[in-house]
Subunit: 233 residues, 2 copies
Amino acid sequence: MRVMPGFRAFGPEELHFVSSFKAGEIVAEAGTTILAEGKHSENLYTLLSGWAFRYKLLPDGRRQILNYLLPGDLLGLQGSIIGEMEHSVEALSPLVLCVFQRSRLDELFANHPGLGFDVTWLAASEERMLDEHLLSLGRRTAMERAAYLIAFLHQRAVSVGGSLAKTLYLPINQQHVADTLGLSIVHTNKTLRKLADRQLIRWLDRACEVLDVEGLMRLADWDGLPAHKRPLI
Amino acid sequence: MRVMPGFRAFGPEELHFVSSFKAGEIVAEAGTTILAEGKHSENLYTLLSGWAFRYKLLPDGRRQILNYLLPGDLLGLQGSIIGEMEHSVEALSPLVLCVFQRSRLDELFANHPGLGFDVTWLAASEERMLDEHLLSLGRRTAMERAAYLIAFLHQRAVSVGGSLAKTLYLPINQQHVADTLGLSIVHTNKTLRKLADRQLIRWLDRACEVLDVEGLMRLADWDGLPAHKRPLI
DNA sequence: CGTCAGTTTGACACGAATCAAAGTGAGTGG
DNA sequence: CCACTCACTTTGATTCGTGTCAAACTGACG
């Protein structure tokens, strides 16, 4: 397990424990369902590479995307801690996941408090993103929401990948955007079109190119996520 | 610190540590701002009694209520773990809070892994509530949202207070409901009126009486929060 | 060349916001 | 005890944003 840019470094003992804690690695194709709502997962995962998203469904099929998962994020923590999964996770791109056994989570807390703290850190961090999304869905207009979402994803991608490329392609389609913003797909399309007309983004087939992050942030009145070294477990 | 009904019991050592960890107790009136967005809080709190809510503001004043806080909930964990607060907390009723020092949080993780795990448990639990709220804001109609919110608050109140009273009064006004559901106050009023006409609730001055929780849950297509013993820190 | 997933567009309907104003009840001071 | 205020709730009229319906367009793929 190598330390990626932007992540905190482990001490030697921790590194050894994390390696031993690791139960395997799995690879998944885009579109694969990694975790399903209602299922009781035996495992907990760290996303090593690729993009995924978490979502919930209403019985009649309405879908709400809750958040996106990028390298360094934990999958299935809630299921591991509380019981069965209350949401599903689907791959947006090919993924590499590191598998941990749910049953050894208390061992992690007991023997490596620093890592236990990291898990809490990640949970708190997820909570902050959800707060931000909630503000968006509840109080921003369609344009502001779309601008916020794209700026948010852009920033997350940059913070995880290092700011390698100046043009960034988000691996999502307009249905994903619609289900994230709580809008219909038609209205989402018209909204994205307006952002494109303003030279803020360019929409491609199954991908979005971000042209002007600052313009998007200004439009959404969003300051961005505070920068912090993330722990990687 | 007594163990409330519905909470897990501590071992003797944990109990001793929690007592020593406690830095004091404060009392706040309804309407008081406990934590403010942008501030760096030195403390972390456990809510011992009363109701509060967390919210975020957009620069132009639009407010979104993120979640409600009931006895047993942690306040300011994010601020303690990551840095400055990204949301504010305001009291809905007189509160009793137990104060902890932010700086001693790592000590808690180091010496009492069980308690560290509890903190993570609480964070994961908050995350699940936020997921549910996000689904509501994104994909439920105004009626469904209102029904969900009231059923949700009712269930939380019951799970915390023991199911003492069959009629439960929620200490909120319609502005709170509007800012939680992402609706205007006028439309919120009309929506609540419809719920009242269907004999699901009765609206009183600054309070809501819940008449038919199951009817509300059916209307919102919501199954309720899975029941679990909450840890109390 | 046809199919299919995804994007785009226009017409229309509907739900929620806004504007405006009145009603209610608790608390306050004369 | 009565007027007055203030916060909160209620209602009706109108506007506007977003959803729905329908259909065409595009490019990848077989």
